[in-house]
Symmetry: C2
Subunit: 744 residues, 2 copies
Amino acid sequence: MPKVADQYLCVDPWKIIEDGFHSDRSEVSESLFSLANEHQGIRGFFDEGYSGKSLVGVYLNGIYEEHFTEGMSYKGISNRLAFMVNTVNWLYTRIEVDGEMLDLAKSKFSDFRRQLDFRSGELRREFIWETESGKKLKLVLLRLLSMETKELAYQQIRITSLNFSGIVALTIGLDFSVPHHMFNQNFWDCVRKEEGAILGVSQNIGHRLFAGMKVYAEAQQTPIEAEKLIGVRLDVDVVEGRESVVGKFVTLQADRNPAQALDDAWEHGISQLQTSTKRYEEVLECNRAHWENFWGKSDIRIDGDDETQQGIRFCIFQMQQTYRCVIEGANIGAKGLTGEAYNGNAFWDTETYCLPFYLFSNPDAAKALIDYRYKTLPQALARAKDLDCEGACYPIATIDGTESCTLWQHASLQFQPTTAVAYAIWHYFNVTRDQTFLQSEGIELLIQICRFLASRGQWSAKGKFGYYAVMGPDEFQMMVNNNAYTNYMAKRTFEFALQVLDGMDISQLRCSRDELDHWCHMASEMFIPYDSETKLYEQHEGFFNLPHIDVDSMPVEDFPLYHHWSYDRIYRNDMIKQPDVLMFMFLYNQSFSMEEKRANYDYYEPRCIHESSLSPSVHSILASELGRQREAFDFFHFATRIDLDNYNRNTHEGIHTTSIAAAWMNIVYGFGGMRSDGEVLSFKPSIPAHWNSYSFQVAYRGSVIRLEVSQGKALIRIVDGEPVSVKICGQVMEVTRGGVSIEI
Amino acid sequence: MPKVADQYLCVDPWKIIEDGFHSDRSEVSESLFSLANEHQGIRGFFDEGYSGKSLVGVYLNGIYEEHFTEGMSYKGISNRLAFMVNTVNWLYTRIEVDGEMLDLAKSKFSDFRRQLDFRSGELRREFIWETESGKKLKLVLLRLLSMETKELAYQQIRITSLNFSGIVALTIGLDFSVPHHMFNQNFWDCVRKEEGAILGVSQNIGHRLFAGMKVYAEAQQTPIEAEKLIGVRLDVDVVEGRESVVGKFVTLQADRNPAQALDDAWEHGISQLQTSTKRYEEVLECNRAHWENFWGKSDIRIDGDDETQQGIRFCIFQMQQTYRCVIEGANIGAKGLTGEAYNGNAFWDTETYCLPFYLFSNPDAAKALIDYRYKTLPQALARAKDLDCEGACYPIATIDGTESCTLWQHASLQFQPTTAVAYAIWHYFNVTRDQTFLQSEGIELLIQICRFLASRGQWSAKGKFGYYAVMGPDEFQMMVNNNAYTNYMAKRTFEFALQVLDGMDISQLRCSRDELDHWCHMASEMFIPYDSETKLYEQHEGFFNLPHIDVDSMPVEDFPLYHHWSYDRIYRNDMIKQPDVLMFMFLYNQSFSMEEKRANYDYYEPRCIHESSLSPSVHSILASELGRQREAFDFFHFATRIDLDNYNRNTHEGIHTTSIAAAWMNIVYGFGGMRSDGEVLSFKPSIPAHWNSYSFQVAYRGSVIRLEVSQGKALIRIVDGEPVSVKICGQVMEVTRGGVSIEI
């Protein structure tokens, strides 16, 4: 991997800290210092405005707009892009002294420090501003999103004059005029404004967003108003050496129903605004309690490697900020709630990369993610029809369940989102044994998915079943036949559905025996390109005969290829973006021999350029299994700090949620050697050579298992619930609170 | 072929006639009754306006505009669409009696007849209008484009009152406000207007278009003007039973240079307007002479089949209208100058389908077409660079030499335009022996084309050379490896270039021996998928193993597939749109055995749905060669009358120039059995069973050969120039004015 770290934050096990302002990385910091509480996400932009590079972004889960693209209008090509729309800048602040406006791109300042604490979710920024007239002020700007009451948010500005007494003029407000960065366009109409409250309606979809504020300050408040902004002007009379505090409490109430009466939206918002009375410090305390409880269950502790410790905690913190199942019908966007790249859309990453974290720490959240697919089944049925198919086809990118990827080559040719839903059901059931779900929503989904797979597949001239004109997860092989991943996942999906249906009353499910027989035949005749001599799976028919390219000899300047290579050039050699074969070997890990894993790892890894952030973790986990600890650690380190060290040079667009989720898998599946694709959970722990120890906990079938690993030994024990049977280093054992100690 | 004729025009050997107005086919008729003289093309719309379905279109060769598409912006993806822009409606007319405006969509009328005469290029339309007040007028509307002075055009309106004397109010003018239909947008600014003259400048490109008119009428002329229109109002005092004539002479002067001074454009136009004095009847006479001379050389006479006679003359007439080499740097659009579909762009059709007609009737025009590619070599070099390649890559669609196809899957994956240029050079040389051209422009082009082919090709893991991620001419197999057509044409291109270079001073051409050796190696190791057992060429690697679809069992309602099938569904079975393998067997006909032709015809024909209008002719010619006269005739009949009988149900968009050119090939190559890919020209005549006779002439190496074929015998003789050697039914003979008679 020709990728190198760009580390500029201080290492700390519980915080990220920027010591001195790095203006050249202003947007990277905005992403890293994002706050979110699932309901909303707010980038770490400067409250007071900043004329340098900045993306002022405040995003609400499930609040989106749409854009129709020009271009190809053939059947089955989606030209509607739904995107998580930029909303209201509730931190809007302007600070003025003697007519000089504070702007860190222009003003003179020193002692800049910014930090985000994973134990409270508080973002704190401070610096000393020296005006042109020589006045010096210390400013501390704090912000917080309530983890308890999701609509509530807080801003606090502390001003201390260091060498004068006089007026500091503040304007603070709620600003709906922020452009959605991707289209450089604002998507809000403000239909009602009163002192301290404003109601926005998104222009195409009609989502309602009420924003209200209460300002706490010892100063005269003069209301101000603009077309899409309300606020107050405060003349704060500062006294040298004494701290003046201005606080702002905000409520953001969203309603996704475009038919909702505007008056109702308004009243509902006003009511919450009026009844909320908690002050900043009280909410901070609540947040601390929330995070303490969370870390108690979900922390991964690493002793002996602070950089990695910080990295993995940042990852876990982001997962919890992004999604924890408080919003009805939410999913997880590729950038969480931290930026506009990928339009806030959810991908197959949710089921494949994010789900395990929740499955083993917050099973209700995991179930809700699958339930999202159940709720959007009507859209998936419609999408399959658009593609001249039956059953349910899940979108490659979506917010509201409809296909939102306007690149037909992805939207029409990639089916991993569909098989990923089936895999998620299987995985969820395997870990929870939730028969109720499986035999109701689960089987309903599986039947519709199988129908899609049956109708989209075709029989070759040689009488084998498979998928033609597809793109697997590896997006560098665009339109191929019999992609091993697609075919293998389809085969397993058919088999699982048939296994669930076995013994069920199929007539009640409106299935016929004939239909099941067809699926059975398709599964058994599924063409999986495989060479029994070399043990290699061929990524697709003809892959082995593609022109070879030595990826190690490619100049670093060529990356990312999408920016530097002619588009078509990417798709005509044996280079891969991420590994399809290793991917299904990870997902159904115990179905393959070590020999097969080794052969395929050795063949595909050198051909992979890891241009997808999904790639390193799979390599790390398999490298770990193959005993290649150095490689395993390198891939893991990359995934863990992909954003903190801006490895892909695109963290300014937002964080890489999937890679962050995968970092968790790297420890649990990689070093912990956990496997969840067998009858029982299994572990085979290892530890990187330079760590002293690490530990983590997983929820499993009603109990909580804790794994503590140090050099040479591991302890696996129950910390909550009944003893459970797990496999440890190949042997099934009952684990109790006393635990099982093993040598490693 | 599930395509059926929709015949509504009268059959006549020298005309097309519409007897009674077919309002449901108004736009089809507009296409069929188009006039053109290479400089301009004007659809057969109604002068007086028509509120029914109509596309008022006047197009000038080489006058275009541009549109930038949104969407994918990766390297090598062209997002600039250049399109032949709708210009000025110089036929603009409004006719009013008693305040009632004539509009055949609303007015009461009878005795409608419209005819276009191939021997004059005059379009005549007549009908009787009965006003609401009961007044009856006979109207005859005539129009004509001068074949002698390309800028000149004429309109004549003859009015005869049948039952009253009084005023008929006419407004006639030049109207730049016509929208370009495809974008429903007007692209002209009118920068100067005076009485009888108006200067338009196209908005993005800045082409200048001067339109001037002189009106001849016995009536008071009152000038009128609007933002983009100038004209006159005439109160014509009609007397019952006497014909009143209003004539309009028009000049359209185009300047493609956006830097040209507007005053110069204006003066230039005014000068031609003032110095042109010919009246309608004089120009009509000149046109008759032009067409008489043309038909003398280029007619195909068929005795015993009036429908086909009309069809083939319509085709030849259209070819001459569209292109005859009077405009510098012109090419041939897919719809000629008759509509906006395909944006007036030229495709590989020019070299492959249109060139032979000119090669054998107007070799200067043929050379000029190749010269178009020479003049646009800089654009082709730039395009290759865009694609990360060397040499010259010719655009899939173009007006000005740059790539104008915004669908990347076509623009980036199809290389038949590039090999077609090489083929055209080879073909032109083979027929003309023009060594001067070959050793200058010819070889320069060939070298750059070979460089492109060398840099775009790749070596497979098995050590064979070929092309990956390509689309051949058959656009139903989108992104394949080692397409037989692409590989075969590339091989022949390398071989031809090397043959021309043999003995030339390559250092002067900035070629190295090494480079040539590489080409030689690539040609000899070119992978051409072929099964020596079955004699079948595989259209691409893996084609034989694709899922089979029985095209005969496909419901007729599914056609055209692009409108009814999900886009991706088209690309995943063994159905083809047009035949790649039969295509190269036609182009290099004598390089393949009868056995190979038969085997491949029998394999590919049943898999072909002929959704491309390029397809039937190739089948017809090969069917003829294989002695399948019925099939040959059916395919030919379709191509010959594709527009007259609206077989593809899209003639309203414009005529199918390529199919029209191919109809000519069907007779000459098909029934005449001509082959031009050998050392000498050869003939092997046959004749459809129901024809009495047919004849045609071809120019060949300075002489003109005439072929007259009747049932049982054929006469081949020289009608101009020296005797030439040709091969007749396999035997080389010298043909003189006395000719060679053979039994067939």
